[in-house]
């Protein structure tokens, strides 16, 4: 399909700009003026609409396809929460920061406040801030809070953050952005961070340990309380990556277990759409004595029940401009409020049931490196298929031809040829059965007709793309 720029016709106009009701002003001084107009596409509204409507049709999405992309929690997002989030479109955030402005924005302030309370209860933390704009942003914010904590105690020597080798790449990257050096602890044969190696890595220069639980293998680490204890004993704090929180709603609260800081991905666990890669939202929760380090400002509830915006002078400052990705937060607030206690517990129960079902049905044909009850996702390996020259990517591409978005492949890094499947609770047994059929078919084809898998996908507008060429050419915008 042509680029919108390639559809441009000189002199064609799209949407009409409002007419002016004021006099023309004298122009800007010459040296401040742009030399040439911005070379934007010149298209009619119909061109625009047809272009992006047809472009959208070149995507798989949750609303069109089963999307079992492990570690991403691609659940279905209800349309009512989408509508709820759109209600605040005309609300200028700066009003809240004007003197006396807070009383005009009680609705959205109440949502910030109440969502923070809901998330605190769900995670077992004392307080939450919704400022971080994505999971990784939450991680960085959390590590900044941890750094502020150590600094406030005069504990300046801590320069390391420990992460297991199975962690999301964002964990070490976020800790590094916050100024720490990274210590990576390998996974033990039982699938979790090696406890002994962790013990060895701990010392009084460690600022924090970052864990994902259930981990990226979809396994619940029964040693997390012990890990927290070891860390605390060494003066380090513990960070819980809430990426996989969808598995444990109402079952486990990281705060109860002993974690000090957590981030949650509203776009994974709390039913907000992923937007083709964003926006997300990554609030963090902290235990009691870290509250004072949370970013400024804070939304507070006054005694009269009204809400106000307050500076938070001891905090780490501002990590985003206002209160976070508010319209995403409003969707999550609506989601939590609509599902309620029982609904949220059901989320985790059904997510875990669905993952175990797929695991049970596929494990005859695909290697299962850690054959134990999984949580919300299961990780296979295509190593058996590799013997026939078929790799995880080939299975993935074949699924596309059959109308399924592929699982995550080649992650986590500690499983060779990983195929990581997360069905989520919103998918039915019937949909999973159809997916399982095709996965089994792929396994059969791997033996009988591997070429079919190598050629896939053939039903898409383009076949497998030359990524090396892309990296070499560095063609990232059109001329």
């Amino acid at each position: 399909m042509e680029l919108i720029f390639e559809k441009s016709v000189s002199g064609r106009t799209g949407v009409r700009v409002p007419l002016s009701d004021v006099p023309n002003a004298a122009p800007l001084p010459d040296e401040l003026r742009r030399r040439e107009p911005v070379r934007l596409p010149e298209v009619a509204e119909l061109d625009l609409v047809r272009h992006y409507t047809n472009l959208s049709r070149r995507n798989f999405s949750v609303d069109t396809n089963f999307y079992p992309l492990g570690s991403c929690t691609m659940k279905y997002n209800t349309k009512v929460t989408e509508n709820a989030g759109a209600l605040f479109a005309s609300c200028h955030p700066m009003v809240a920061l004007l003197p006396g402005g807070d009383k005009l924005v009680q609705g959205p302030l109440s949502i910030v406040y109440e969502l923070e309370r809901q998330l605190a209860e769900i995670t077992g933390m004392e307080e939450v801030t919704t400022q971080p704009l994505a999971g990784a942003h939450g991680e960085m914010t959390g590590i900044m809070v941890i750094a502020a904590y150590h600094k406030a105690r005069g504990d300046e020597k801590r320069k390391y953050v420990i992460v297991p080798d199975s962690s999301h790449g964002t964990n070490p990257a976020s800790a590094a952005m916050a100024g720490y050096e990274i210590v990576t602890v390998p996974t033990a044969p039982y699938g979790d961070m090696d406890l002994d190696l962790f013990r060895q890595a701990m010392n009084d220069e460690v600022a924090a340990v970052m864990l994902t639980c259930p981990n990226t293998l979809g396994l619940f680490n029964p040693h997390i309380a012990e890990i927290c204890a070891i860390a605390h004993e060494g003066g380090a704090l513990t960070y819980y990556d809430g990426a996989n929180l969808n598995a444990i709603l109402g079952k486990v609260r990281p705060g109860d277990v002993g974690f000090d800081v957590i981030h949650v991905n509203l776009h994974k666990t709390f039913g907000t759409p992923h937007g083709g890669g964003g926006p997300g939202s990554g609030p963090i929760g902290v235990r009691g004595d870290l509250v004072r380090f949370l970013p400024t400002p804070r939304v507070v509830r006054r005694e009269d029940g009204s809400y106000a915006v307050e500076d938070h002078p001891e905090g780490i400052g501002r990590v985003s401009d206002f209160f976070g990705n508010f319209a995403i937060m409003a969707r999550a607030y609506a989601y939590i409020t609509m599902l309620g206690r029982e609904g949220l517990v059901e989320v985790s129960e059904q997510a875990v049931l669905n993952a175990n079902y797929i695991m049970a049905r596929l494990k005859e044909e695909y290697d299962l490196p850690f054959d134990q009850t999984c949580m919300h996702e299961c990780v296979f390996s295509a190593s058996r298929q590799v013997q026939n020259g078929v790799h995880a990517i080939d299975v993935a591409k074949y699924l596309i031809d059959r109308g399924f978005h592929p699982p995550t492949v080649y992650f986590p890094l500690n499983v060779k040829e990983a195929i990581m499947i997360e069905p989520t609770e919103t998918e039915s047994k019937q949909t999973m059965d159809a997916f399982i059929e095709v996965m089994l078919e792929a396994a059969r084809l791997a033996k009988e007709d591997p070429e079919r898998l190598h050629e896939a996908p053939v039903t898409t507008p383009v076949g497998r793309l030359d990524e090396t060429r892309a990296a070499r050419m560095q063609q990232v915008c059109c001329e």
Partner: protein
Amino acid sequence: MGYCPNTPDDIRDMLAAIGAASVEELFAPIPAELRAKSFDLPPGMSELELMRLMREKAASCGADVTPFIGGGIYDHFIPAAVDHLASRAEFYTAYTPYQPECAQGTLQALYEYQTTICRLTGLEASNASLYDGGTAVAEAALMSLRITDRHKVILDGSVNPLHREIVTGYLHGLSAQAVDVAPDGCVSDLARLMASIDDETAAVIVQSPNFFGSVQDFRELAQKAHDHEALLIVSCYPIAMGLVASPGEMGADIAVGEGQSLGNHLSFGGPYFGFIATRKRFIRNLPGRIVGETIDHQGRRGFVLTLQAREQHIKRHKATSNICSNQSLCALRGLIFCASLGMKGFEDLARLNYDKAQYAKSVLGAVRGVDLLNCGATFNEFTLALPKDAAEVVQRLLDKGIAAGVPLGQYYPGMERALVVTVTEKRTKDEIDRLAALLEEVLWS
């Protein structure tokens, strides 16, 4: 029952396939002592009740206030087509385009977005979006540290104070130094900025138009920075790019900004998007995702995420940034907004902002006791010197349903009587005249 589809029959069959007696059994790997001590949330509600609740909250969201405020976020016209197209389910319910064959929609759109940002900023390489304006400035600062392998950044005081706070926080963790240079009234103190540059300097960061609304020529500053092998980072307001010299034209090495004004609703602070663009030779230092053009085995053009070796999922702690989820959908809105206006419309829109603000300047400047602070050239914001405390004036005008501007005292001690007023194309002459009349009234009666 919540929104989970499986029926009791389904669940029974699935448990049988698993070989488990109950769903609870699947949670056996969680030791009893780790179980939640509380989960005290109210029961759920139906759609109807939820929307009743949400509409109540939305009824008190300040949407009826006439906004003459900006501060980085602007009340601009959004063509209807933007909402219609960005709400296509195939766009908003997809994820990061890791499987390019079934994500050409998102990928091509992001490629078009990157092209748009390059053209707006006058630079050569853009990524696929950052979180927001403030974190974009911070990412640019970090990028300059990586490129120059230096640890000092000079931060102009007329950069949005909210953004400066974020930059400071980001730099703080890395033990890098942020040198603040106070503005000279409403304009950057170019002489002091230039004097601050030395061979330790990674970058100078300025904003155009700046927080006070002023537009300045940074060419000399760029030259001075380049003489010291430092970079010039310009944070810019994209709508102004229809009229004002681009960062590229000014000699910037990195341009960043808040993309909200390009087709994104105000939404009480987000989601918006940050943008970043740079010279092609710095492309490997960009943070975040980048979409590149390539071909398939049949030679058909296609788009993929490229240069991923910079990113956290590959490079982990050595990545150029930790960013993973970005603001794709908001960037898509920005793209569609720009394409819907087109070259001519975008210029006209910028001019309309300029003309309306110039009119407002003349009308508000004529209010008894009110002066224009000397800001030089401005785009659609300018700063007034009031005869009274600006915060008080703003508060009194808020009670009359008008957000008259951002009082500067809270950000610039000593400027308690200064007020930054924003006038977009959405403000009518009548509204501007009404603001002037009410300002007169509040000041003098």
